[in-house]
Structures are given as C-alpha cells and as structure tokens.
C-alpha cells in the first residue's frame, strides 16, 4: 500500500456509489429517450461508469492491469461509437429522423 496515490483519499464506497448512479442514469436514458444519438451517449455513459469502477478497483488493489484494460476498452468503445454513429447517420439519411420509435420494422 506504500506510495499510494491520492486517489485513495477518497473511500472506495464513493466510487462505487458514483459509478452505480452513472450506470443507472445511462440505463434510464436508454429506456426513456427516443433520440438515437442520446441513446448512444447513454450507452457510452454506462460503459464509462464501468471503466471508472474498473480503474478505481485497480488502483485500490495496487494492480495496474485493470487500468491497462480500461485503455483497451476505450479503444474498442471508440470503434463502436464510430460504427454506431455511422448507422445513425444512415438512419437519418433514409428517414430524415433519428427517432428510434419509428424503427420497428422487426416486430413480430
């Protein structure tokens, strides 16, 4: 535990609560919003709340692997966002709208 960073000044519980709140906000956003871009943002929010938690655990455990994993996740997330935004752009081109409630062609 020696050489601990200042981050440990903040108790771990705070990180957990913060991350949970962020995650729930993300879920809520995905559930209630109709705008595809906002939904995408909310998905990113959930992802990053988890990232933050990962980094916090990693730091508390004194094991750097977790933080390296976070970098990888961020790279993948960037690629994902690129694809997601491209899809949304195509949706907009076809329908002049980013409201996902009209994309229900796959209903049974």
């Amino acid at each position: 535990m020696e050489g601990n960073s200042f981050i440990q000044v903040v108790p771990l519980e705070y990180f957990i609560i913060l991350c949970s709140v962020l995650f729930c906000l993300g879920v809520l956003g995905v559930l209630v919003r109709k705008n595809a871009i906002i939904i995408l943002g909310c998905v990113e929010l959930m992802l990053n709340s988890v990232n933050l938690l990962l980094a916090a655990f990693s730091s508390y455990k004194g094991d750097g692997n977790g933080q390296i994993l976070v970098f990888f996740i961020m790279v993948v997330a960037a690629a994902e966002v690129a694809v997601g935004l491209a899809i949304i752009a195509m949706m907009y081109r076809n329908t002049k709208s980013v409201d996902i409630s009209i994309f229900n062609k796959l209903r049974g």
Binding site: V27, L31, I39, I100, S101, F103, L106, R107, G108
Partner: protein
C-alpha cells in the same frame, strides 16, 4: 451324397428363378417342360438316395453353413436325411412332378402360365425345405414358404374378389397356427438349448412324462399343425382354398402341404410321446374334425368342395392315428391319401376342364362315355378312398380303425360311421358326375372332350399307385409282419417305444369284415338312390333339416363371422375411435398449443428497442436481487 442332397433342393429353386425371371418371354412349352423337369430330376435323385438307405441307416446330416449363434445355441443351416424325410421327399417330388406334368395341359389356356409354374416350383422348394431341414427353424422357413405359395396360388385368379378373399382367409388362419408353432419352437430352444432334431431328441429325456412344460410345448406345436393341416377350429380355410386352380388343390391342399402338420408331429415324436395329455387332445380334435367334415361333405354340390371336405376328414383320420400313438399308421395313410386324393382332384380337374369350367355336379351327369379315362381313374380313386378291399385307402384306413379299436371301441364306432359317410359322399359325387343324363347346356355338351395326354398320363399313374400303394404296409397278420415294410422302414425314427394296444386276431378279422360289408352296403344303397331311382341333388335353397345343415357347412363360417370376425371388427372400430378421438386430439392439441403460444409470444417482439432493453434490465435486476437474497 452331400451334392445330391443339395441338388434335390436347389433344382426346384433354379426352376423357380429361371421361370420367375425370364418365364414371361419364354414359350409355354419351355416353361412347362423346365418346371416339370427340375422336379422330376429331383425325384430321380431322391429315389437314388432312397436306394442307398435301408431301415437301419443312421440319419445323414448335411451341414451347409453356420446360420447364426445366439446365447450359446449354434444354429446350422443344414439338412437331415432319414427314413421319414426320404418318404416325404418321395411323395413331394413324385406326386409333384406328376402334377406339374398335368398342369401343362390344364393351364395351357391361361395367361398366367409362367407365373403358375414359378409358384409351383417355389412351392416344391419350400416343401422340400420343410421336410429336409435338420432343425425346427429351417422347418419353420419351409412352413412359412409353403404358406406363402398356398396364398399366392389360391389367389391365382386374383381379379375375382372372392378368390382373393379366400387366399387371405387361408393366410390369416395359417398365421394363427404359426403363432402357436413359433412359441413352441422358442420353448424348445429355451428348454433344451437346441433346435436341431437330433439334439432335442437327445435332451428330451429331461422332461418328466406329462409335465406341464412338455404339454405346453407339444400343445403349441399342435396348434401350428392345426392351422396347416386344417383341423377344427382352424379348418374353414381349406374348402375356400378350392378357389385356386385344380392342380394346386391336388398338390398343396390334398397331397403335400396340408400333411405338413402330420409330418411335424411325427418328426417331433420324441416330444409328443412324452405328453399323453396332448396326444389325447390330438385324438379328440382329429375325431371331431373327421366327423364334422364328413358330415358337411354329404350335401356339398361343388365337386371340388366335396373333395375338400373329404381331405379335411381324412386329415382328421391321420390325426386320430397320431393321437393313438400310431405314427407309422398316420404316415401310411398320409401316403395313400396323397395318391388317391391327388388322383381325385386331378380327375375332378379333368372333369371341370371338359365341362368348360363348370364345377356344380348338378349340372354334370352322364360323363362316363364322353371322358372314359377320367371316368375310370376317378372311379378307382373313389373306390380307394371309400374302402374297396385291397385298394390302398382300405388298407391304411383299416389300420387306423384297428388301432382305434385297441385304444377304445367307441372311437372305432365313430370312425366306422365316418368311413361310411366317406363312402356315401364319394359315391354320390361319382354317380352325380358320371352317370345319368347330361344336365349341362348344349354349348357345354358340344365342347365335351377327353383331356390331353399330359393330363391323362398322371391320372393313370396315380390310379395305379392308388391300387397298389397299400401293399407296402400290409396288416401284421399277413405273413407275420414280413410285409409291413413301411412300419419296419420307419422304426428307427421313433425315439421312444410306443406301446400300441394289441387287438386279437379274431376281433381284427371281424372288424375288417364289418368295414368291407359296410362298404358294399353303402355302395349298393347310393347306387340305388342315384342311378336306379334317378334321384337328383336339390337346389341349395330346397334343403331342410340335417341336409340344410350339411349343405350350409353347419353354419360355421357364419358362426365365425358373428363371433371372431365381429369381435376383431369391433376392435378395429374401437381402435379407430381411440385413434381419432384421443390420439388425434392429443397430437392436434400439441400443434394448436404451439401455434397459440407462438401467437401470444409474438407480442413481446414489438420492434421497440426500449421494450427490449426494459425487459433485459428488469431481468438483470431480478437476477441480481435473487442472487443477493440467496447469499
């Protein structure tokens, strides 16, 4: 020796294959000659084997290959040649070749000529397999094979619906018997760990006399024999089997196949001798069958039906002999019966041929002059079966009667009455057919002609055999048994000694005198009725009292229809209702249920992503909570 045995059985198979595969394109002459020749060559080889054998010879086992092995029982595909099988083989191939020859003439106008000979050859092959097989399973293959051929040949003119029904009736009745038979074979295999005759005979000593298990085994085998040999209650198929061409009736349904039941019992003598209870059962069934069939035969007007009931009745005689324990006597009567009944059937075929396919005796009459050879040979057959002194039928039947008297005089009285009935219906058939005025149409009269040589030659040969056939087993009192050749010949096949009750010489002479006297009295009376008084057979609906009972076959078919057939039909209707009402509903329910649940579940997939996510997050939440609580 081995090669000869193979040749005997493979030749008919070869004939069957050639005629079956190429017969359609071969000329009729070739088909008929080939089929007859293979059987005749088989006969010649059998005779050569026979000459090498004598009464003391050991059975020869020809082992072709190991067939299969199951739980320690090795089952070989092999043949057993001994005195009994040689005797049967001689009858089958000998009478078989005569009937093949006859069929060339009889079937010459038929479109299915090649098919007929194909079936006949297959029949000879199966029948040989039946009597040559060295174990019960091969016997069973032959047994089923002859059943199949019988079915095919009864339904030979299958475009006639009634004939097809007769064929099915024969097939189904035989299946009932075969079930008993196969149960018997399985019991033998499980009790003695063997199915070949020699080993079973060796192991049979472990059965206690009259123990339940031996009664069960022999009883099962006898049920098989009952089906094949047309005994009560499984006999009604045989009269219907007359739907087939007449040579078939002669070969299969008189001379050979129907005697397979007798062969089975005699072959299994080492089992049956241990079960006196079964033997008494056989005696009773045989007696009842002989009586009922003879009674029905009295007022039949179809010439072939008379002969059919006569066959059933004579088979009953044979089973009576078997039931007494007089196996040799049964085999003796089997042989003489094969001669004279084949002769009578072929004779009736010749009559039917001459009468342009008319079978009703009421529409015949006066054929004596028109078809003299048929007339003489038919008369010889009639005399032989009715008991004219020293003809084959009289000698063998008398042996049965004498043995029956030794067993119990009451049996003798019943058999005596049946013998009298036999003489009555045979002479009635003879006089109605050949004497009096011609009663057919003018058209038929114009066509009346003696049959071709291929048909009359077998008749003459069989007539000769019917006359002298009895001399191979003359009664014991002539020459102190030196002329009881057959009894001596068959001695070695009996594993256990059978004690036949002795009948004093004086008594035997009196019995003999009575039967001969009875024969001449019956002959005189019947001749008086049908020739001197010119009494005519009535139309079917004019019969009353016992005549109606006899003419209507004791209403047995109606009885079977009202009970068994109705019962099975009821089962069928019930099964149909169960199938439609319950099984169908159930399977429908599965389909409808899947459809409905699908329709309900499809609402979940409404295309709104939020819904999916909501369900997903709720589910995750529930899992988390449950997980938390469980911890």
């Amino acid at each position: 020796m081995e090669n000869l045995v193979y040749a005997i059985i493979l030749l008919p198979l070869l004939g069957f294959l050639i005629n079956g595969l190429f017969g359609k394109n071969l000329p009729k002459m070739v088909v008929g000659t080939l089929a007859t020749l293979v059987v005749f060559v088989s006969f010649c080889i059998t005779v050569s084997l026979f000459l090498k054998f004598d009464a003391e010879s050991q059975p020869v086992i020809v082992r072709a290959f190991e067939w299969f092995r199951i739980s320690g029982i090795q089952i070989n595909f092999g043949f057993q040649i001994d005195q009994l099988s040689l005797m049967m083989m001689m009858i089958i191939t000998g009478i078989g070749s005569l009937i093949h020859l006859y069929s060339i003439g009889y079937m010459s106008h038929d479109k299915g000529f090649y098919k007929f000979f194909t079936y006949l050859n297959l029949f000879i092959f199966s029948m040989l397999l039946l009597v040559m097989g060295s174990n019960y399973l091969i016997l069973f293959i032959g047994w089923e094979g002859v059943g199949l051929c019988s079915y095919l040949l009864i339904g030979f003119w299958y475009t006639n619906k009634e004939y097809g029904a007769a064929a099915r009736k024969a097939f189904i009745m035989n299946r009932i018997g075969d079930l008993g038979m196969i149960i018997g074979i399985f019991m033998i295999a499980s009790q003695t760990n063997a199915v070949d005759f020699l080993s079973v005979a060796e192991n049979s000593s472990k059965f206690a006399l009259d123990s339940p298990i031996i009664i069960f085994i022999t009883g099962s085998l006898f049920i098989g024999a009952m089906g094949k040999s047309a005994q009560i209650p499984l006999f009604t198929w045989l009269p219907d089997a007359m739907a087939g061409p007449t040579p078939v009736s002669a070969l299969i349904h008189a001379a050979t196949m129907v005697t397979a039941g007798i062969y089975l019992v005699v072959r299994s003598n080492f089992l049956f001798s241990l079960a006196p209870t079964t033997m008494d059962g056989i005696l009773f069934i045989g007696l009842l069958t002989a009586l009922v069939a003879a009674f029905i035969g009295l007022r039949q007007n179809d010439i072939k039906k008379v002969l059919a009931y006569s066959t059933v009745s004579q088979l009953g005689f044979m089973f009576v002999a078997v039931g007494i324990g007089a196996y040799t006597t049964a085999m003796f009567h089997l042989m003489t019966h094969a001669f004279f009944k084949a002769l009578l059937f072929l004779g009736s075929g010749s009559v039917i041929h001459a009468m342009s396919d008319e079978q009703d005796m009421r529409l015949m009459g006066g054929l004596k002059k028109k078809i003299p050879i048929t007339h003489i040979t038919f008369l010889i057959g009639t005399l032989a079966i009715s008991g004219f002194p020293f003809l084959s039928g009289m000698i063998s039947k008398d042996e049965i009667l004498t043995n029956a008297y030794g067993k119990n005089p009451i049996i003798w009285v019943i058999l005596f009455a049946i013998a009298a009935m036999t003489a009555i219906y045979m002479f009635r058939a003879y006089y109605l057919t050949f004497h009096g005025e011609f009663r057919g149409t003018a058209e038929q009269e114009k066509h009346l002609h003696e049959s071709p040589k291929t048909m009359t030659i077998p008749l003459i040969i069989l007539a000769g055999l019917s006359v002298v056939g009895g001399f191979i087993n003359l009664p014991h009192f002539i020459g102190h048994g030196n002329y009881s050749k057959l009894a001596h010949w068959l001695e070695s096949i009996y594993v256990y000694d059978v004690e036949l009750p002795e009948v004093a010489f004086g008594t035997e002479m009196i019995l003999l005198g009575l039967t001969v006297l009875m024969f001449f009295v019956v002959w005189f009376i019947v001749k008086n009725i049908y020739v001197t008084k010119k009494k005519m057979a009535l139309p079917d609906e004019k019969y009353s009292g016992w005549e109606r009972l006899s003419n209507k076959k004791l209403f047995l078919d109606e009885l079977y229809n009202a009970t068994f057939v109705r019962f099975i039909e009821g089962l069928g209707v019930g099964g149909n209702m169960f199938d439609k009402g319950i099984l169908n509903k159930f399977s429908d329910f599965i389909g409808i249920g899947a459809e409905d649940s699908g329709r309900a579940a499809k609402r979940l997939q409404n295309g709104n992503v939020e819904n999916y996510v909501l369900i997903m997050s709720l589910a995750i939440g529930i899992i988390l909570i449950v997980n938390f609580i469980l911890q």
